[in-house]
């Protein structure tokens, strides 16, 4: 791999994340990314594809997704229908085989980045059904007897939100990286990337409020990076001055436009209650 990934002008990658991507690219093994929601797991694949100048294929996993669907699907039902209607297509089985994302990635003429998004949403057995395919990067099509082998081993990035435990055999085949929640310095860099030239005062006031809010115990959904970015966008659009944010504890005044930070009604209620209690005591 001649190019190395080192973040981009839209994405801040920490040292260890760069290392993880480069190791996965060099050794051609899948990279499993975990981390809090909103820390840029899915975005990573897009940015890697852009930085290494490769096409991106995304396979979004749902609870009903089967491993087979990533390889191919044989549509027996429409073939049966066509046979009743006397369609000529029916004699050729390959008309009824739909290529899945893995197949597309394997047969691509140039190396690609394949994103398998939210693998933990699928059934418990799902990762086990992909072991050989990810290891050897080949699979066979029973209906036609073809063997599909990767022309170039794709860079595979797998994300997980930790809803289910992944099987050991699967984990052993992957590199694993956990995206930590960014600390204050990294967060500044991230915001800088999104809003270059943001007023220093506003930024530090906003970050202070943000980290304070994350520390409020018992929040159901802590605001994460993506929420912070949205919130700052709103602050800018509303031309809120840094003074409004500064010097006030979250418990004294609910931050303006809090709807961008708190996505849960109960969290909002709790914050209001806290503020109310503080005011009464004060």
């Amino acid at each position: 791999m001649s190019q190395r990934f080192s973040g981009s002008d839209r994405y801040v990658a920490t040292d260890d994340l760069q290392m993880a991507v480069n190791a996965a690219a060099t050794l051609q093994r899948p990279l499993l990314i975990k981390g809090e929601p909103g820390t840029g797991k899915t975005m990573l694949a897009e940015e890697v594809a852009k930085a290494l100048d490769m096409p991106l294929l995304s396979w979004h996993i749902k609870s009903t997704t089967k491993a087979q669907q990533g390889l191919y699907e044989y549509d027996a039902v429409s073939r049966l229908r066509d046979s009743q209607l006397g369609d000529e297509k029916v004699h050729e089985i390959r008309h009824y085989i739909k290529k899945g994302m893995l197949w597309q990635a394997f047969e691509s003429e140039v190396p690609v980045v394949l994103l398998i998004d939210e693998i933990d949403k699928a059934d418990i057995e799902f990762p086990n059904d992909l072991l050989v395919e990810l290891d050897k990067m080949l699979f066979s099509v029973y209906e036609t007897g073809q063997i599909i082998q990767a022309k170039h081993r794709p860079i595979i990035i797998i994300t997980s939100n930790n809803e289910k435990e992944l099987p050991d055999a699967f984990l052993r085949r992957c590199f694993f990286h956990y995206i930590n929640f960014p600390d204050n310095t990294t967060m500044k860099k991230i915001v800088e990337v999104h809003y270059p030239g943001l007023q220093k005062q506003l930024l530090s006031a906003a970050l202070e409020t943000f980290f304070e809010l994350r520390d409020v115990p018992g929040l159901r959904k802590k605001p994460s990076t993506s929420e912070l970015i949205d919130w700052i966008k709103l602050l800018l659009a509303d031309e809120i001055s840094p003074e409004i944010l500064q010097g006030k504890s979250i418990k004294e005044a609910i931050p303006p436009l809090y709807g961008a930070l708190l996505k849960n009604e109960q969290d909002v209620h709790m914050l209001q209650k806290l503020a109310f209690m503080m005011r009464r005591e004060g």
Binding site: D15, D16, M19, A20, N22, A23, T26, L27, R29, L32, K34, T64, V77, L80, R81, Q84, I124, E165, D168, L171, R172, C174, F175, F176, H177, Y178, P217, G218
Partner: protein
């Protein structure tokens, strides 16, 4: 190459296999990392660790290996739980406790001395009256007799702790234990209830034949949703204190249920269920959930299993403010009753052997309140409990 490093990871309890070592060597050969210790650390972590819950163990082992230190056998004993150093637990102390702390010259001094001793001390210690370790009469360590004692890890040796003011960082139940869980899974299978739910993606053959016949021989496909296990399970685990003896058994149970049920919710409590529960032991003082919320969230069709040894001081059940570690306004008995009133199917699994139940008064009280639906945590007990749940 790096074989000693590999073994020191293993010794620290990080699950690593030869494959991970080979990958690391591969990566080094491919020059993914260039020489610096920091890069090697990142790379080794990337290759060897597959779950963030092992990061901490890895860091400890890595540090020890590269500082040339000998691994201390029982590392955990010497780590001060992080919670102790944060001030918010102090608010939970009773007046009586605070006085006791004063006896040793105040909390700050106690913590300070503790930290100093931890630094001075290099080896595991047992007996004696100064060092941190097990037994003995120093205020630091576990299983000691000093009234102001701070217990550090380890197991309590005096079964009935009255007013322990320590806060321990409980271990989260590790669900990696697979040995012995198979038979439990088989017992749990009886709780399965299959129901068709979700999108129709399975061919309904009978219906298709009927409908095709009705359609004058032209194919009319009928689909139906797949069958899924629709049983819902809510588990409350007792952790810490006298439960430490049974932790292996509970881990096995936890591991078995976790893979067996799709709708599984679990909460932890200590000794008796009170107004708060929590899901993550390391964050238990920051992130707990109101028991009311739990009662209101999960509908009546959930099966409830409470796992606990039911061994505690009777006051914890019967009296307000009876809890050993916080100020509970309402007695444990009331909370248990609320649970029994909310869900119909509730059983209690007790890891203590049946023969010993009559030694503890609290077990009697709870068993009576559960209308005898308390079963030992053995295979046969589990089967009986499941039978009771699925009735």
């Amino acid at each position: 190459m790096l074989v000693n490093f590999f073994y020191s990871l293993k010794k620290a309890g990080v699950p690593v296999s030869t494959k991970e070592l080979l990958v690391l060597l591969d990566a080094l050969e491919a020059e993914v990392a260039f020489g610096s210790a920091n890069e090697f650390y990142q790379l080794a972590k990337l290759c060897m660790i597959k779950d963030e819950k092992y990061f901490d163990r890895f860091d400890v082992a890595f540090g020890h290996f590269f500082n040339g230190l000998e691994m201390i056998k029982d590392l955990e004993t010497f780590l001060i739980p992080h919670d102790w150093l944060s001030p918010d637990w102090i608010n939970n102390l009773s007046e009586e406790d605070k006085e006791k702390i004063e006896a040793l010259g105040g909390l700050d001094k106690l913590m300070e001395t503790l930290k100093k001793r931890l630094e001075e001390q290099q080896k595991r210690h047992q007996g004696g009256n100064k060092w941190v370790g097990t037994g003995g009469t120093s205020p630091f360590g576990n299983s000691g007799y000093h009234p102001e004692g701070v217990r550090i890890g380890g197991q309590s040796q005096h079964h009935r702790a009255v007013k322990v003011w320590e806060k321990r960082q409980f271990k989260n139940l590790d669900d990696s234990v697979e040995i012995g869980t198979r038979s439990m899974k088989i017992a749990l299978k009886k709780l399965r209830k299959f129901a068709r739910a979700g999108i129709a993606n399975e061919l309904d053959l009978d219906n298709t034949i009927r409908s095709t016949a009705n359609n004058a021989g032209f194919l009319d496909l009928k689909m139906r949703p797949e069958k899924h296990n629709a049983a819902k399970l809510l588990i409350f685990f007792d952790v810490g204190g006298s439960m430490d003896w049974h932790i292996k058994l509970c881990e096995e149970l936890f591991s078995a249920v976790k893979t067996e049920f799709k709708h599984l919710e679990y909460f932890y409590f200590h000794n008796c269920i009170y107004e708060n529960l929590w899901r993550d032991n390391t964050r238990r003082w920051q992130e707990n959930i109101s028991t009311w919320d739990v009662i209101h969230t999960y509908p009546k069709d959930y099966h409830v299993i409470i796992v606990g040894d039911a061994a505690m001081s009777p006051y914890e059940i019967s009296h307000p403010y009876g809890s050993v570690e916080h100020m509970n306004e309402e007695p444990g008995r009331l909370w248990l009753q609320r649970i029994l009133d909310t869900w119909e199917k509730v059983v209690w699994l007790n890891p203590v052997p049946v023969e010993q139940w009559h030694y503890t008064h609290s077990t009697h009280m709870l068993k009576a309140q559960m209308s005898d639906r308390m079963y030992p945590l053995t295979l046969s007990g589990l089967e009986a409990a499941i039978k009771c749940l699925s009735r």
